[in-house]
């Protein structure tokens, strides 16, 4: 492992990192995908999606208890052999890299619509990339600090949704529990991408000092995210009603217009700009994860150089995703491929660790 990662983080730091890796600017459009199939019951279907991160947290907590000092990359090499292990690790790396690209391009798409219409995409993406790269070069220590700070920033942003409850009407979310179960399942499929991110636990697991709290804190993080997503869907439906929500591509931004502040002409701009911190946080986390995996595969490479190479890759590919239609179509294709892959990958490692653990542990 790299020398600058020779540190320990507490389990509550891990809580902030997991939260920060799941919640991004995707929350702005989450009501749209839910309301389309589940109508006013979208806030129920969004909680169903939490099943995926719960499984991930459960499995990775199991692994980090069994192998306290090894992350998933070491384990996959150990069980699957060096060659296959590296290939699987590389696919795992592309998972993080692709999401990092999608995040930064999605953030850019929100920004050029709502706030900085005069700036070109490459300038936004380039600057966010540099900031993310700086955090990644500084290592896990800075990353936890950023996640901790921006967690509270994220909470403050969510608080701005509360005035919508004053101006909306409870009649919009009634009647409850009317959607069919199949519709709810169908709607919750759309959350797969939004709930991705708990996988970072598999990489930072070895650095956590108090191992016995990992599972509890992981579940807590997923629980917080679920509440936040539910609140986002409820506030959008409460304010606009289920017919109007899908009309706006980022419906949560429009909810913020319920806030009236005398001097500010339109709170929408302020609200949209606030998501800069959230986007920076989630992007750094994915950037970090992909850097760590590459560092593991090519052991000789220095982190700074990896960062620069990945920066160029991210810059080139995310420019391609600045078309929102293309991007959301790509997510619909990519999410159902990667999620089963990650799940199967972890389950295989867990099965191997149950049967082979005894022999391998003694060798060490």
């Amino acid at each position: 492992m790299n020398k600058c990662d020779n540190i320990k983080i507490t389990s509550s730091d891990m809580y902030y990192i997991i939260f920060g890796t799941i919640v991004g600017t995707g929350i702005l459009s989450i009501p749209n995908s839910q309301v389309k199939d589940a109508y006013q019951d979208g806030w129920i279907s969004v909680t169903f999606g939490a099943l995926y991160p719960i499984i991930i947290v459960f499995l990775s907590a199991f692994l980090s208890k069994k192998f306290p000092n090894k992350n998933i990359l070491v384990l996959s090499e150990m069980f699957l052999g060096k060659f296959i292990g590296n290939i699987v690790n590389f696919i795992f790396f592309t998972f993080f890299l692709i999401i990092a690209i999608l995040i930064v391009s999605g953030f850019n798409n929100v920004m050029i619509i709502y706030t900085t219409t005069f700036i070109q995409s490459i300038e936004i993406i380039g600057i966010v990339g540099i900031l993310g790269g700086y955090v990644v070069c500084k290592g896990l220590n800075v990353l936890t600090k950023i996640n901790k700070l921006f967690f509270y920033a994220n909470l403050i942003i969510i608080i701005f949704l509360i005035p919508a409850f004053k101006r909306g009407s409870y009649l919009n979310i009634l009647p409850m529990f009317q959607a069919k179960f199949t519709d709810l399942i169908k709607a919750s499929k759309g959350t797969l991408y939004s709930y991705a991110g708990a996988e970072i636990m598999l990489l930072i697991g070895p650095y956590v000092s108090d191992k016995n709290k990992i599972r509890a804190k992981g579940f807590m993080a997923v629980f917080t995210v679920t509440i936040m997503y539910s609140l986002a869907v409820i506030s959008a439906v409460y304010y606009y009603g289920p017919d109007i929500v899908p009309k706006s591509n980022w419906s949560l931004v429009n909810v913020s217009e319920s806030i009236r502040i005398t001097v500010i002409n339109n709170f929408r701009f302020v609200f949209a700009s606030m998501w800069i911190v959230v986007a920076l946080k989630i992007f750094s986390n994915y950037y970090y994860a992909s850097t760590v995996i590459i560092e593991h595969i090519f052991k000789k490479a220095k982190r700074e150089y990896i960062c620069i190479i990945l920066y160029v890759v991210i810059l080139v590919f995310s420019i391609k995703f600045t078309d929102e239609t293309y991007r959301s179509g790509f997510i619909d294709i990519i999410a159902p491929i990667y999620v089963p892959f990650v799940l199967i990958f972890i389950i295989v490692i867990v099965i191997f660790s149950i049967f082979k653990a005894g022999i391998k542990n003694e060798k060490k």
Partner: protein, 375 residues
């Protein structure tokens, strides 16, 4: 000491910030070259072929250290076409996003305002707080009226709409944002203020009721007061109780000023919808020549409250009968409550269902204050 690695980063930041501040890549025109819109008017010209829409903008310009009004108009097939045509006579840069009011001609509204609202919604710079009003004659006259009447800059039209909720029970949900949330919903009815230019000036003369994106009818002031009282989110207003209506002069009366709140109960009987509208009218007595005993005697106060309740119920029942038989629209958003209970898809045509339903009104009046005494 700063590490070498950090120095590289600091350098990059300084170069980026320096590049943007020194070279200033984005044009920033001075205020003299800008035109800041305040009102937008939408009219229609019907010829033998397709209709064209003259869209006018009243804007502020800054000249000779003074703020002035200008009016410019473009005629086109839709909003954007008109904007393109208007640019041909434009000598300044037009800044989207500061509009204060949209004035729409009645004839345009009757054909449907959905395409216009759509083009405002798609624009990410639109000010969604801008108010929307319907006017009887040419909408551009409303804009020109304001320009001609005041030499100083005022926002008369915007102000009368913003203070609309102080009297007549009108609600202040007239912004573009409220139009977005109600226009396309089949269980809600959009209601916008209706203005006219009379001999003595610009005036609100009633409300316009929208159905399916089109203006259905205008309701005059007298009736609109009761409609607004029965509707959700009603503002403040006065209810007058006259002892003997037939008497022409010297009749005794009570005025009450307050804000009504409604509660709706909905149930089904033999597949027929039933509604009970409970109006809680809490307010103060502002004139009382009927019975001054109400200051001291509780029974007299109760009597006034009771008479007031009867009056409100009477007015409401009259309006509801007219609404069900003549207007045939759910003007008071009852469908929303029924849809919240039985689901939106349970009834196909909500207006028809509401007009065939039984609606009961029950008023409850509560006098909170009675002033400092009677003269």
């Amino acid at each position: 000491m700063i590490a070498v690695k950090d120095k590289v980063y600091y350098m990059i930041f300084i170069i980026i910030i320096g590049y943007y501040t020194i070279f200033n890549t984005y044009p920033r025109p001075p205020v003299e070259n800008l035109e800041i819109p305040s009102y937008v008017s939408i009219d229609v010209q019907k010829k033998e072929t397709k209709p064209t829409y003259p869209i006018g903008i009243a804007a502020y310009i800054f000249e000779d250290n003074k703020i002035k009004y200008t009016y410019k108009e473009g005629i086109g097939k839709n909003v954007m076409d008109a904007r393109q045509k208007r640019q041909l006579i434009e000598n300044k840069e037009y800044v989207v996003g500061q509009e204060k009011a949209y004035v729409i001609n009645e004839r345009v509204a009757k054909e449907g305002i959905k395409p216009f609202i759509d083009s405002f919604f798609i624009n990410n710079l639109t000010n969604d707080d801008a108010v929307v009003v319907i006017c009887k004659d040419k909408a551009s006259d409303v804009l020109k009226y304001e320009m001609n009447r005041y030499e100083e800059i005022t926002d008369y039209l915007e102000d009368i709409i913003k203070t609309i909720d102080i009297m007549n029970f009108y609600n202040n949900k007239n912004s573009l944002l409220d139009v977005y949330t109600t226009l396309d919903s089949n269980i809600r009815t959009l209601i916008l203020p209706y203005v006219e230019i009379k001999e003595n000036g610009l005036k609100i003369t009633g409300i316009s009721v929208f159905k399916n994106g089109k203006m259905n009818r205008k309701i005059a002031l007298e009736e609109s007061t009761i409609l607004n009282m029965l509707n959700e989110n009603s503002g403040k207003g006065i209810v007058t109780l006259i002892e003997d209506e037939s008497k022409k002069s010297e009749s005794k009366y009570v005025d009450m000023y307050g804000k009504p709140k409604r509660k709706i109960k909905c149930w089904k009987e033999n597949d027929k919808l039933n509604f009970l509208i409970e109006i809680y009218f809490k307010g103060e007595v502002i004139t009382n020549s009927l019975n001054r005993d109400s200051d001291s005697k509780n029974s007299a106060k109760k009597e006034i409250e009771h008479m007031m309740e009867m009056k409100i119920e009477d007015l409401s029942n009259k309006f509801i009968t007219k609404m069900q038989s003549e207007y045939k629209i759910d003007c008071i958003n009852l469908a929303r409550t029924a849809a919240a209970k039985y689901g939106k898809d349970s009834v196909e045509d909500w207006d028809k269902a509401i007009c065939n339903s039984r609606i009961y009104v029950k008023a409850k009046v509560n006098i909170t204050k009675q002033g400092r005494g009677g003269y």
